[in-house]
Symmetry: C2
Subunit: 193 residues, 2 copies
């Protein structure tokens, strides 16, 4: 587990979100990686592609990050949930292992696991996908900028306490970390890949 003796306000984070697509369509979609300094400013932006409802998100995101010129400076990966491009689930444990970075998934709503499990049973590699869901670990409730509005996170390779600190420190403009707010705006705004 990464130990943060002191969390710098300008900690370098990559935040990830997927581009929009028509549900049940086939093909590829983009995943946008936004490099941010703390909750303050955009430093760079990168893109990779994954298969809609495929199972290549973990590998492709990992390659994009490892091959980025920012890799050595990155301190943390933040995900806007673990489901990208439909049911292309990111295995946070695996992603942390290959990138050697701690991972935080931050979500606004608690997922309904029974519905996800039901949907995943339609895929041939159900077990692997379900394992990715379980590997993300327990869902922890917290607050960020707005102390009355709950958000939720899952953390790999970073303590619950440090995760909460970083979420609060970087949620400068809204109730979610700025890197995820910006990744979402960019990924939605550019439309399909």
């Amino acid at each position: 587990m990464k130990s943060y003796n002191l969390i710098k306000p300008e900690i370098r984070i990559i935040g990830l979100d997927d581009t929009s697509f028509i549900p049940h369509s086939k093909g590829k979609i983009g995943v946008i990686g936004v490099v941010f300094r703390g909750g303050y400013w955009l430093e760079d932006l990168m893109k990779t592609e994954i298969t809609i409802d495929g199972f290549d998100a973990t590998e492709n995101i990992s390659s994009m990050i490892i091959n980025s010129p920012h890799y050595q400076q990155l301190q943390l990966i933040m995900l806007n949930g673990i489901m990208f491009g439909g049911f292309n689930i990111v295995n946070m444990k695996q992603l942390s292992l290959t990138t050697k970075l701690p991972i935080l998934s931050v979500i606004r709503k608690k997922p309904v696991f029974s519905s996800i499990q039901k949907a995943l049973r339609n895929f041939p590699n159900f077990k692997e996908r379900w394992k990715a869901i379980l590997d993300a670990g327990k869902i922890i409730e917290t607050t960020a900028r707005n102390s009355k509005s709950k958000i939720y996170f899952q953390a790999i390779g970073i303590s619950e306490k440090d995760a909460q600190k970083i979420i609060r420190l970087t949620s400068t403009m809204s109730n979610i970390p700025e890197v995820l707010r910006v990744a979402h705006i960019v990924a939605s705004g550019i439309g399909s890949i």
Copy 2:
């Protein structure tokens, strides 16, 4: 000419830049429009397409802006130069007329007009393209964040003095307005459309 009695630090600006492409290739490229509050934060992002070396940038950018949900709140359009997608030149006068907004083009280097004119002579509608160059008006030298490093701008529908004020006010992170720094990072980062 738009008169700014008081320029708010959180003035709503749209900044435009084009996605990368291989020179002399054919087809379409993307133009990214980033909506920013002053020099501070990203509010939204939109995209349109233009033809490489075509002459549809003015019209397509104008449509994108007018049809945006932010249109009524926008105070200013900023361009990263007037040449998009090769020699697809934005006519600033025309764009200001159709959008009813002032336009600022901000560049780091003074263009070499003799080279541009020579290149434009290869296009059938040379006169129209050259008119778009002339319609952008005179190039004014200024400084932004770094008082030692010169930058240049062209302004339509806004006074030289107000333009300089807004450039300085919004260049919060680097030597160019933040909306253009971010538009450039996004447009370059997403690669081709």
